[in-house]
Point group: C2
Chain length 343, copies 2
């Protein structure tokens, strides 16, 4: 399982899909391989990864079957964002030494990408990890999911699950900026305290509490206008019970269902009687909002209005276990793997 000693400096250590996971992935679903870094073609950029950004969405691609993205093939590098420095470029807009984020850098040390998949990550504006979180895909997911799909109005009650996770943290803070009353759902007293004390949510409810449904109802005595769902499963079903008429449920993630957690499903009748709207979204459909996102979020970040804790693991070898921790709610903030830069 551990890597062989690198033979040359330009070996690329990678984590590939060994076996399609059933339910929650196991370490044995992944394999470590080493390959040569290929030659650059015209228009391509070679990036040495310093950080991998982990996101639950990678789980979807580990399964076969039709979805919005082709599945990772067996033996293929696992999907994921990466941030690092350009080491060689055959593209006029990028030069060696520049900090960038690669949309599908993957779980590996180096990636070769077209310019379409690479974005500059100015260190003057923010450290590299922030380009994976607040100013990266987590931030963009929170931004369009809350504002475009959820359409919050001032004074509305917004509830977000996985509130101490990357997307959840940002959804709640943006909702507060928009004048909403914000209640987080998180696992355990430490995370709940962080969500209220550091992220400044109005309240946070611990879903591990056996009294969870009642506690959520007490935190939202007038019901919920927007439920931003990162988890699915039984937590979603409880939130559904509290939806107000004309409420909106934003389906962003389904961690519980990726892992086959049992759930009886939300009350379908309430969709009708409360005239709810339930909508799933993917950021790929909101490219037209990228400029607004960058303008607003970099402003909020510079002002200290949004923050996001980094949850950093060290070394490529730790990536599968960090990912499994993310799917089981053991992460606390943006799950990031920092790669050894010595080779």
């Amino acid at each position: 399982m551990p890597f062989a000693d690198p033979k040359t400096e330009m070996k690329n250590r990678q984590i590939v899909l060994q076996k399609r996971p059933e339910g929650l992935p196991k370490l044995s679903d992944f394999a470590f391989v080493e390959s040569d870094v290929p030659q650059l073609s015209d228009g391509q950029i070679l990036v040495k990864h310093r950080y991998l950004g982990l996101a639950p969405a990678a789980r979807i691609r580990m399964s076969a079957g039709p979805s919005y993205a082709p599945p990772t093939p067996i033996g293929g590098v696992i999907y994921g964002q990466a941030a690092g420095l350009v080491v060689a470029s055959k593209h006029p807009r990028f030069s060696a030494g520049e900090a960038v984020v690669v949309t599908d850098g993957g779980w590996q040390e180096y990636s070769i990408a077209s310019s379409r998949m690479v974005a500059k990550a100015s260190p003057q504006l923010a450290p590299l990890t922030v380009w994976l979180g607040i100013l990266g895909v987590s931030g963009f997911t929170a931004y369009v999911g809350l504002l475009d799909v959820g359409q919050p109005k001032e004074g509305e009650v917004v509830v977000v699950s996985a509130a101490s996770g990357a997307v959840g943290s940002l959804v709640g803070q943006i909702a507060r900026i928009k004048g909403c009353y914000v209640v987080g759902i998180s696992g355990g007293p430490e995370k709940c305290a962080y969500v209220v004390d550091d992220l400044k949510f109005d309240a946070c409810v611990d879903h591990r509490n056996p009294d969870f449904g009642d506690a959520l109802a007490r935190a939202c005595p007038d019901g919920i206008d927007i439920y931003f769902d990162n988890v699915g499963g039984p937590v979603r079903d409880e939130a559904f019970k509290l939806m107000k008429d004309f409420g909106r449920v934003v389906i962003c993630g389904l961690i519980a269902e990726y892992n086959d957690e049992a759930s009886s499903g939300p009350s379908w009748a309430s969709l009708l009687t409360k005239r709810l709207t339930v909508r799933g979204f993917l950021t790929r459909d909101y490219v037209h909002r990228k400029q607004d996102f960058e303008t607003d979020t970099s402003h909020w970040y510079a002002n200290g209005q949004v923050r996001l804790r980094d949850d950093i693991s060290h070394g490529l070898e730790q990536t599968p276990s960090a990912f499994i921790n993310l799917l089981t709610g053991k992460n606390f903030g943006k799950a990031i793997v920092e790669l050894d830069q010595s080779t």
Copy 2:
């Protein structure tokens, strides 16, 4: 259970809620009572019912618990539309002899209503039963549900369940007028033949067919843009599997769930990966569309572009069993009870 002989002509025979049904209502959940017709107050109208229009939504009010409408109290008259003639009026806009529809006439021979609940039903434009169906609440439900909630575009694939029922018949015909490809779902070969031959849907699939899911997939080889759901349950779950990206699911009725039919629920993950929108609606929120509905639908009706079969039972005593038939899919068209006019 049968009525006592009427003592005077102004006795009002009524059907009241004896017991809250569990699942599918039973005949013993209803009771027959007789009361005096009360005196009219200023502004009120007394209507003698000729037809009762049955709709599954009455089932919701038979249950206790919070919903969009207060539950029918035990001993209260069952909710429902009625059409008939004004027999006395203390309202300047209505006079004896006029044909009207009473929104909540209820399962009884007479109702007393305010003008807000009474609409004129010109016999020059259409027979009384049409004012309960195409030009009544069934038509309005189909119109706003399809056009405002579903938002069909020319060339899209629209699938509607309970296609030989009142709302389903009209949804499909309006979708055809709007240039959609329309597939009905109905129970049994006779209804399916009617949906295709008489209502001119492009296809109809029998949900009683053990091969139903595959048959629906064959009828919609490119998938479904709009699924207009009148039933919920396993039929809905199969339709969900065929939704196209950005598809819309309109939740109009949940007959299967009113009756506690088992269903594993639709795939929640597909909401996300296909970016679906699922929305429940009630006609009460679309009052601003009433004028458009009347203009369009009376035009389509006059041109013969929409039709709706009347499924008529005779005599107030038949109302509970006709209603149970409606909930079990035994009706065929708009379920109407014609009342004896001799007393």
